[in-house]
């Protein structure tokens, strides 16, 4: 099991620690519903130090990296980040990621824990300008409508001017950090990348604010599911393509990237299953692995599903045959055939992430 630099903080806070892709991480502190509501109304800190980060420096290195990602890396404006996916030759999704252009000749790439080894091999293999900085980088997400004023109050003035999906270098009490106005909750928020040694002090300083509480993986999951955000390894893996995952808008067709030919062929052929939102009419939840049926006929499978605390009903994501994927289609889910209806995410529309 791997431990983040914040492990002792979580234990002291009473966090219930679980194994997440080989990392010991808190699933909850006071309770998922509490932490979820707190994030939507105030601000929560999440330890995401298990995630992977890479720096890519120089024109050639950036160009080599661009060929690994289906979004248009070259067109990212300095100071901005862009969502994308790394594909295999068959168009299967190895991981999703965010590419931040810190400067004209410098990228910062953030990927997930599960496929980190495979991703590192792809990004760094044969690319001397690429470096895996995960081992000495901690990541603290602060998310919630009050997160801006908290960071500004901590002297990170840049947080006051960053717009959604903008990022920059900054400093906190003399420690260098990267601040990105991104997140996984739908709320106004930031991801802070900092050296391992500095992480506990930064965590404690944020935590000391009355409005800030720690939140675990459980709330992170309900928050992201309400937004319809995908979870790597759960909503997709290498057996699914960006077209199936509903991520076609992140595919830059006019750029060269690994997996492009296979995607073009799939687009041409059509008829692939499509990741779609589903909702129940009551508090029951669809669960990952539930079969989705139209009457008795199986038409898909649930990949994510939970009770949505801010919407008050069950929500989920499911790969569905395209002929039943249109919003408003009545279906049933799981062994008890609970009634579900297809619905277009986000399920929760009042998120503050763009404000």
């Amino acid at each position: 099991m791997q431990y983040t630099p914040l492990h002792d903080e979580h234990v002291a806070d009473g966090g219930k620690v679980v194994d997440f892709h080989g990392w010991a991480l808190p699933i909850q502190f006071t309770g998922i519903l509490d932490e979820h509501a707190h994030t939507r109304t105030k601000a929560s800190v999440f330890d995401c130090s298990h995630m992977a980060e890479f720096t890519i420096r120089g024109r050639d290195a950036i160009q080599a990296y661009s060929g690994l990602v289906c979004s248009d890396v070259e067109k990212i404006v300095p100071g901005r980040g862009r969502y994308g996916m790394m594909l295999n030759d068959s168009g299967g999704i190895i991981d999703d990621l965010i590419t931040i252009k810190l400067a004209e000749d410098e990228l910062y790439v953030v990927t997930n824990a599960g496929p980190a080894a495979r991703v590192a091999e792809r990004i760094c293999g044969g690319n001397p300008g690429a470096e895996d900085v995960s081992a000495h980088t901690a990541k603290i997400d602060i998310q919630g409508p009050l997160s801006r004023e908290i960071l500004v109050g901590e002297g990170i003035a840049e947080a006051g001017s960053l717009k959604y999906f903008q990022a920059c270098r900054a400093a906190w009490r003399g420690t260098e950090l990267i601040v990105s106005r991104t997140g996984y909750t739908g709320e106004l928020g930031y991801e802070l990348f900092v050296a391992n040694e500095a992480a506990p002090a930064l965590w404690r300083a944020l935590r000391a604010h009355d409005a800030v509480r720690p939140a675990g993986l459980g709330a992170r999951d309900t928050l992201r599911t309400e937004m319809g955000y995908l979870l790597s390894g759960q909503d997709f893996d290498e057996s699914r393509t960006p077209l199936e995952a509903g991520a076609e808008s992140f595919v830059a067709w006019d750029t060269p990237f690994t997996g492009r030919d296979a995607l073009l062929e799939q687009r041409e052929r059509g008829g692939y299953p499509l990741l779609s939102g589903i909702r129940t009419g009551d508090r029951r939840a669809p669960r990952p692995g539930f079969a989705i049926c139209l009457g008795d006929e199986s038409v898909g499978t649930v990949t994510s599903g939970t009770y949505g605390p801010s919407v008050g009903h069950g929500i989920g994501l499911a790969y569905l045959q395209q002929d039943v994927a249109a919003p408003g289609t009545g279906l049933n889910a799981g062994p008890k055939h609970i009634a579900v209806e297809t619905a277009r995410p986000p399920f929760y529309g009042q998120g503050t992430c763009r404000t």
């Binding site: 699933i27 909850q28 309770g31 998922i32 519903l33 509490d34 459980g218 309900t222 009551d282 508090r283 029951r284 939840a285 669960r287 939970t306 009770y307 605390p309 008890k336």
Partner: protein, 128 residues
């Protein structure tokens, strides 16, 4: 730690004689394991259950699981308050968070269930 007036199952239900009728719920240990309860499906009043029958189901944010009848009997009342306030299961598992009541319970079947001391030991052996 567990109420002495209840009997317990290995599936973490409790049953208590409330003067002829028997009240059934899930233990504080089960509620803690489930986390925040978000939905409870209760049996039909009037339905007849045998010991071990699936009687109810409980969903939390994290998981869903079935609740079994600790003993046979007829469902004479269900806790409709759980419909709007499933969190009662977490807040007061032996009180306001009860699930349903059984009549005509066979006392011999109750004898086969664990008492509080035995259940406490069972939980100790089966957690972590």
């Amino acid at each position: 730690m567990f109420p002495a007036e209840c009997r317990f199952t290995k599936d973490h239900e409790w049953i208590r004689d409330d003067g002829g009728q028997h009240t059934v719920g899930i233990t504080a240990f089960a509620a803690e394991q489930l986390g925040d309860v978000t939905y409870v499906e209760l049996p039909e009043p009037g339905s007849r259950l045998s010991a071990g029958d699936t009687a109810a189901s409980v969903e939390s944010v994290k998981a869903a699981s079935d609740v079994y009848a600790p003993a046979g009997g007829e469902v004479c009342e269900v806790n409709e308050a759980l419909d709007g306030k499933p969190e009662l299961v977490n807040q007061d598992p032996y009180g306001e968070g009860w699930f349903f009541k059984l009549s005509d319970v066979d006392a011999d079947e109750l004898e086969q269930l664990m008492d509080a001391a035995a259940y406490e030991q069972f939980v100790g052996e089966h957690s972590e």
